[in-house]
Symmetry: C2
Amino acid sequence: MGRISLKAQRRVDLIRACMRTIHEEGFEAASLARIARRAGLTAGIVSHYFRDKAELLEATMRFIARELYDHQLKALRHAQSPMERVLATIDVNLGSAQFNAETTSVWLAFWGRVNHVPQLARIQRVISRRLMSNLCADIRHLVSDQCPDHEKVVQHIALGLSVMIDGLWLRAALTNGGIEPEETRALAVNYLKMEIERVNQQ
Amino acid sequence: MGRISLKAQRRVDLIRACMRTIHEEGFEAASLARIARRAGLTAGIVSHYFRDKAELLEATMRFIARELYDHQLKALRHAQSPMERVLATIDVNLGSAQFNAETTSVWLAFWGRVNHVPQLARIQRVISRRLMSNLCADIRHLVSDQCPDHEKVVQHIALGLSVMIDGLWLRAALTNGGIEPEETRALAVNYLKMEIERVNQQ
DNA sequence: ATAAATTGATTGAACGTTCAATCAATTTAT
DNA sequence: ATAAATTGATTGAACGTTCAATCAATTTAT
């Protein structure tokens, strides 16, 4: 117990080195030799911890997904109402987009590969679905029961908000996204409140 | 006059082959040999038409940018009012996203490289700025003169709409974007009208 | 009108480089 | 003494680039 195994530690070292390399030098430049060097190791050892390069890349994407999920769980713990929960979800997603340039640009690199690597597509689908169902669960309580097509409206708003989050995430990932950090959160929150108000006051 | 030169024709052949290769096999698999084979040529000839691979890739991105712009100009010619113009802009952007899977996935691949290739960043910035200023110009006429902070509001709506468009474009690019073609356009149009209504009826 | 010269397009082979993967040898920890 | 971790050398394939050679089409000179 206690200290985590060297094996687990090295895997994380390599995953983090992989992220840093992709972020700073681009996906094309992220060879095993370069990644290993960043972790203070040599290329040969990588195969001791990962079957092949594809597995390292997959583990890296999974690592980001888990990190995001952990932040999400932690943030939701303090939320008291459905609205607070949705706002926390927005903050977590856009917060990591803004404060962790590394996570964001690695994610962007992976987006470009999702269509060609089924393993990555699976991970992406899990994250996307999780966001959608989280948003739906909370927004359901924010839309008046009297609202016609209640469930449809809920899903429409959740989908719109997650599309908006993706768009903002993309802007954050592009060095020249042309958007300020404060604006980012405001756009998402504004969209949410506008939709909620509209459907409730009809 | 008349027939375009062989040189221009071959360049387009190679650009199109480049797009098809990236779309179908992924950016990583798009080697010069593979691209040339798709155009019915061999790898060697590429350097006869492009300085190097980077120039071919840049020309490909530029090609897409121009195509998008041409469609935009054509669509705007039939628009009669500011609202029609904005709707046409939405249609052009999301239309090509939906009906041309190739364009979309190539664009997605480039997004992942923009931060590491200044030449691509420039092209991306041009497109992004052009969309923003087009939207602003039309939305300016849709927001009431009485509205306080008129120009600020205009830019807020234009930014929100272009973020939404980016998000929708991304969904269209991902094979598993979880969004239907009809929904795509509806989300953008809905967002626009909702914002306009709100600021005008205050 | 004919022949010679020139151009442009294309191929296929060769080059040096980089890469992922493999593995025997060595070092380190237990 | 044993097992695990790590290195460093090696391999074979793939890559982008370069270039000599070929050849059809075009231009120029006679």
